[in-house]
């Protein structure tokens, strides 16, 4: 516990190695995004199908987003205890506020001509959704995912408030506790690097899934940015680097 401990020496009270913390951090960040996507896809489709549903859904997700995570924790801790689940539930809710509009806008942006053509070729609503609308919404959905993952990765840290459930965020508390500023630096840098790497993976995924987008990527990037509800510095920086 001396001040001379190395950058990657993790205090034993966290019960994990550096790599272990990274694993937990990513797990706590990505599972909510995954669940969020699984909820947002059908919810988004419902909002497209029934136009009247979209404003209330948007309103509810936005209101939930405005609730600080600490409030969530206080409320949830009675049910799910001081566990990772308690951290992941608000993160899931937060991801919805980005993903639902991304999906709705993405699906709605499919040109009417394209849809008419699909209908005229005898595609039913389900085929049309799976074969036309969803693939064409991929750029918008991935743009939403980039924002959602970046914010999720940084928000996991607040889990430290409910007893070391913040993965890399816990290092911040330990930095204060043990007067080791290098732990704080480690936490911030590692989280930032994780966010950037995840973002790169998502950009690569988008490129792999959308060989049909004009190569310049300018238009796609603009559309993606317009879809994103929350500005994300890392994501935006990376977008420019990548495209």
């Amino acid at each position: 516990m001396s001040g001379g401990a190395g950058f990657f020496d993790i205090p034993s009270d966290l019960q994990h190695s550096y790599a272990g913390l990274i694993g937990i951090h990513m797990q706590e960040a990505m599972i909510p995004v995954g669940i969020g996507l699984a909820v947002a896809l059908p919810l988004g489709q419902l909002c497209v199908r029934f136009r009247w549903l979209y404003p209330p859904v948007l309103w509810v997700t936005t209101v939930l987003y405005a609730i600080p995570s600490l409030t969530f924790f206080v409320f949830l801790i009675d049910y799910t205890g001081a566990t990772r689940t308690t951290v992941m539930i608000p993160l899931t809710v937060y991801s919805l506020v980005v993903l639902v509009p991304a999906i709705v806008d993405g699906v709605r942006s499919v040109p009417q001509d394209t849809l008419s053509a699909a209908t005229a070729m005898g595609l039913g609503p389900v085929q049309r959704y799976l074969q036309v609308q969803l693939p064409l919404a991929v750029p918008a959905i991935i743009a939403g995912l980039r924002v959602a993952t970046a914010s999720s990765i940084s928000l996991v840290s607040v889990g430290a408030l409910i007893g070391n459930q913040g993965a890399l965020g816990n290092l911040l508390q330990d930095a204060i506790l043990y007067h080791r500023s290098n732990l704080a630096l480690n936490s911030v840098v590692t989280i930032a690097v994780l966010a950037v790497l995840t973002d790169i993976v998502l950009v690569l995924l988008r490129m792999a899934l959308t060989p049909w987008l004009p190569r310049s990527g300018k238009a796609a990037g603009r559309a993606a940015r317009a879809t994103a509800v929350e500005p994300s510095t890392e994501a935006a920086l990376l977008e420019d680097a990548a495209s």
């Binding site: 040109p111 394209t114 053509a117 209908t119 070729m121 005898g122 693939p135």
Partner: protein, 473 residues
Amino acid sequence: MNRPFAEWRGGPGSHTVVAVCPRAERTARSAVRVTPGRGTRRSTRRRDGDAQPRMEPGGLDSPGTGLSETDRRQAVHARSRGVFGTLIQIESVTKRYPDGTTAVDGLSLEIPDGSITVLVGPSGCGKTTTLRMINRMVEQTSGRILLDGADIREQPVSTLRRSMGYVIQNAGLFPHRTIVDNIATVPRMLGWDRRRARERARELMERVGLDGALARRYPYQLSGGQQQRVGVARALAADPPVLLMDEPFSAVDPIVRKSLQAELLRIQEELGKTIVFVTHDIDEAIRIGDMVAVLRTGGKLAQFAPPDELLSSPADAFVEDFLGTDRGIRRLSFFGSDGLELTTQPVLPAGADAAQAARAAASGAPYVLLTDAEGRPRGWAEAKGGPAGGEPELLPTGRPFVAGRESLRDALDCAVLSPTGWAVAVDDQGKVVGVVSQEAIGAAIRSAHAARQDGDGAGGADRADATRAGAVT
């Protein structure tokens, strides 16, 4: 660009469904085409222009075609014609949208089999609505639509739609699929394996005049005109008997539009589909339509007639107004130029001797036409000066017309544009076959009109072998 040339039977009132098959070649080619199902039946209905026309009971006697005995006789007499039955019957169909708009009002139309029927009218007159009722993308409020005698509501909507290719403005391609996969969409849905569907797609690319190298591209990598061709290929992919086209060419520039129209006519010659084509462009309607339905605002039918008849006898002031001011001139497209009396007297071939030159100069024409070694027109020289005295000053000949293949309108146009008032007629190779004066063309127009008015178009039809085939090249 050459004018299409369709020769339709019957004067006003006998419009219905008897059509001169615009081109002998079309029939010859369609006859060898073997396609399964309805395609075969339909294509055998076309006949060779020079063969003795056969009566097709199903075609002529089907109820509602309203053919008189005279029509029938004329149909038999006329040369080079096909007889079509009715494939799609629209029976007093009305469409009222939920907001109260009456888009189509009591519309009845009989859309003939194996030919192009154009719906034309001002914006908002219900053309798209009518078209979409045929494939049930819009359900009519009242009335019925029959396909081959059966109500279209009797079959599953997806089956119905797959039997009808649909082409729209801006093509509506799937941006996320390559060109082959776009075209292969319906065959794939019909359960063809990927290889066969793609093979078919490549075949169609060729048919619509697309370079095979484009196959693996995505739509954004194609020009508007190319995309539109893909749209047509995609609609044809499963060989549907019916094609519905909603202003397919209105988003491309006029030159590309003309070539797409020509391409469509060429494809139609080969395939003989039943095409319902929507446009707001009356020129396009006249150019490509075998039958033209003019709709007026409020979704009412103003006139349903072959283009020739539309031009010669518009039903009312609305149609007349819609046709524009120069319908007399435009109607000339329907008269062949092979009845023109060409003269070769004022034509002076390359390397002609003085005697020939003197004869040409003495022919009475104020100018003589000099040709080059290949027989192509070089220019006009004044007859008086005599071309023998060195190289005379030549007036440009302008664009010549192809004798026989192009219409009287083309001939007249050449004559009007010519500095000498004489039009130059050439053959397919561009060799001069004669010249003709504005006066002679005027006389030919008068006699063509007279022939039409007699109700005996047979002579005109004989001469008018100028066909769409020619117009397309």
